[in-house]
């Protein structure tokens, strides 16, 4: 009897599994009676959303179900665009402490030719874990902390090409939204790259010697680092010109080649910065090189705010739930940075920068709301803003006809922890909401 039951459920499982796969792959989906939060426009309550051929085909009060469409009852539920995390190492790093499972942080200082995308492991357990909280899309960076990182990566200046990926797919090729979304640069800074050093302002004023030596020495190192970076770009420019002129005897150089899309304005530099001074210097560098730039993880914007706004340079803010940098900085420094950006008119998006916290992306955004950021701005910073910043707003970031059907159906406000996610669609496919963690839960809940 038991055996028959098992056989039956196996068969049913196969049949159902087949059905779901078939329906998801081919059949349109009609979500009925749902409250739509398009982000780019006001909420539309109690309407239908039709997903067809991976796209949002229609939104409206009266949308007829095409033949063979799967109907999802959306009554009492909300639908949001899929959330976008603008800085992760998804697919590249499985267990932080196990080097063998980490593929960020290659050796070498100037490595723009490295492609994060081709090292994305589609089988990473992180994908099903972050999907269930509504993160459908993420920037994955070739180094921890965006531009540079720990260990070997601490020496990196250019760590490679970041990719914009979906959090579901059979292969990294299928997951790719933008194979090369940015070239990641860890900008030199006084007393350590990316501002992991001390307080240069004070050191400068006091003429104090830091751990790395005197201020004069620190400044010299900084200028040398900056000169090396500039040299590299200048060389790459010359290469670009030589290539355009079909210079005889030109040997193909993969490193310089990788910067051509940057020079052509197709791919931005994603530059890790820290203080207003490094922001200013990074902008000056980008201006001089005449390239597009996105700044990563500043801990404050301060006096650089006006410049950011004037030049329309977007910023990827790090974790909102973060400690203040200095002992005497306000306790809510990181909580209020998004509000500061908003007030200054600086365009920003959020990144979590660590795989472990990607699933908390909406809650990081909500903390900024607790400390004054308008709620709709927080929502934009994980949907339409990153879509615009990374250049995919024609496909993603809001619920509009013709865009990719990357959608999250929830029981309520997507920024609230208590809200449950009921469905996630990526390119119109209904994504499995179970993962290793839900399976372990079910298994041990049933343990006698």
């Amino acid at each position: 009897m038991k055996k028959i039951g098992l056989l039956f459920s196996l068969a049913a499982g196969l049949w159902l599994g087949g059905m779901v796969a078939w329906a998801a792959a081919d059949a349109p989906v009609l979500i009925r009676g749902v409250d739509v939060y398009p982000v780019t426009g006001p909420a539309i309550k109690g309407v239908s959303v039709l997903l067809e051929n991976g796209k949002i085909a229609d939104i409206g009060a009266k949308v007829a179900a095409p033949k063979g469409a799967r109907i999802v009852d959306g009554k009492g539920l909300c639908v949001y665009p899929g959330l976008i995390d603008s800085a992760t190492q998804l697919g590249l790093s499985e267990i932080e402490a196990i080097r063998e499972s980490v593929d960020t942080g290659e050796l070498g200082e100037f490595m723009p030719q490295l492609r994060a995308l081709a090292a994305v492991n589609p089988g990473s357990e992180h994908f099903p874990v972050v999907r269930v909280n509504g993160v459908t899309t993420a920037m994955t960076f070739p180094a921890g902390g965006g531009g540079g990182g720990r260990g070997a990566a601490a020496r990196q200046v250019i760590s490679g090409q970041a990719a914009l990926i979906h959090t579901d797919g059979w292969t990294w090729e299928q997951m790719a939204v933008l194979p090369s979304a940015a070239v990641a640069v860890q900008f030199p800074s006084l007393g350590g790259r990316g501002g992991r050093g001390g307080n240069p302002d004070f050191a400068e004023l006091l003429g104090e010697a830091g751990a790395a030596g005197t201020y004069a020495q620190t400044l010299r190192t900084y200028q040398e680092d900056l000169a090396k970076l500039t040299d590299f770009f200048d060389q790459a420019r010359r290469y670009q010109k030589a290539k355009a002129a079909s210079a005889p005897g030109l040997v193909r150089d993969l490193k310089y080649e990788a910067l051509i899309p940057v020079f052509e304005g197709k791919t931005p530099l994603a530059i890790s910065v820290s203080t207003p001074k490094t922001i200013h210097d990074a902008i000056a560098f980008a201006d001089k090189q005449n390239v597009k730039v996105v700044l990563l993880q500043p801990r404050e914007i301060g006096s650089a705010a006006a410049e950011l706004k004037a030049k329309n340079i977007p910023v990827i803010l790090g974790k909102v739930l973060a400690l203040p940098h200095g002992e005497d900085d306000p306790y809510d420094q990181a909580f209020t940075l998004p509000l500061e950006c908003y007030k200054a008119g600086v365009k920003f998006a959020f990144g979590t920068f660590e795989n472990e916290f990607v699933r908390d992306l909406p809650y990081q955004a909500a903390t900024a709301v607790a400390f004054g950021l308008p709620r709709e701005e927080a929502l934009k910073a994980i949907t339409i803003n990153p879509a615009e910043i990374w250049g995919v707003s024609d496909q993603a970031g809001s619920i509009e006809k013709g865009k990719l059907a990357d959608l999250v159906v929830t029981t309520g406000d997507i920024l609230e922890i208590q809200t449950q996610v009921k469905h996630v669609f990526i390119k119109g496919q209904d994504v499995d909401l179970t993962n290793k963690q839900t399976r372990l839960y079910e298994k041990y809940l049933a343990r006698p």
Partner: protein
Amino acid sequence: MRKLLFIALAALAPVAAETIVIENATIMTVTKGTLKGSVVIRDGKIAEVGEKVMVPQGATIIDAGGQYLIPGIIDCHSHIAVDGGVNEGSVSVSSMVDIKDVIDPEDVSIYRALAGGVTTANILHGSANAIGGKTVVLKMRWGKDAQGMIFEGALPGIKFALGENPKRAGNPPGGRGANATPVFARYPATRMGVEDVIREAFNQAKAYKAEWDAYDASAARGEHAIPPRKDLKLEALKEVLEGKRYVHAHCYRSDEILMLLRVADDYGFKIRTLQHVLEGYKVAPEILAHGAGASTFSDWWAYKIEAIDAIPYNAALMQKKGIVVSLNSDDAELMRHLNTEAAKAMKYGGVSENDALAMVTINPAKQLGIDQRVGSIEVGKDADLVIYDKHPLSDYAKVQKVLIDGTVYFDRDKAVSAAKAAAAEKQKLLDKIKQSQPRQQPARRPNG
């Protein structure tokens, strides 16, 4: 001498005997339901709780209209306010050292924790050794000296640690290959060794206790016996055997959790709390049978191999199986939003609002044996209270005021204006330095 100084300082300090009435709040008592009303505080204690209370003459009124009042948050696992390192890792059993002796009352993390609603924290030794140092419970009385921080009357504890961390100290990075040169080899290097170290320590402690028991009995009979030599390492373990010191054990995997419970059963002592206990959900019946509490993270995982089976449902699952569960931080940042960590137990596993709040208030109080004093809003308990502007289980909420023993230790309005003043002062100082002559660098002496 130190005590005298403390008494002198205490005499100078303002007496916290102010009578305060917090009015119009939504009061979440945790143990006696939720009501709209007022709380009267007298002599640092909760004197009255009700929809309508008698306002004593001359009482200070705090109008908490539209706001929420909860008991002060208790963090069962923290390492803040420790002067210097938290690990005496040179030996595998360091039960002779005490965190109480190295409290740093000026650690700004105390203030930041306070600003996140934490009023009490269990300050633990690190996890470098199987049996670590002694631990202490502190109240976040920012501004008091080290002695003034200590939660008077709270039973002290001791830290145990299982798994990767105690193993690691004996197995330095560089691997075990033929070419590996261990910097130092400290037993144990495996989970087997961790068990042995704990058994051996209690072997000794039992013999030591027997010596003392024999001596005490003989002395009680009026015989002139010679007392045994006092052993400071075994003294702490003797206290564990006598139930006078709580064991707080860092652990991850289910095998090591079960091992520790069985060792404790064999030697006749209790594990008061299992800390982290990320696979606690796998051995919930065993934990329950032993009577240990479980203090875990809400959703941390994947940062090391022993955290790979961590599930965000851990807290909920263990609670469903009858274990007293708390959510802790182990982190100066996470500590500042344990309220929303509690909300995650609602999302992952469907814990009720009240049970979720209990995980950061009355449950940790029970685990630390201080539930007669703190952890809920009840008449006679310490007036350790937090006022939030919104529902504390929403991530839109922020802390407005925090009281400990009926004294306001944190007030957001004051903190915001103080931060402005501090920033202005800093700028003034910077300007002053800029105007002054550069300082003469002291001549450097050659090393030697």
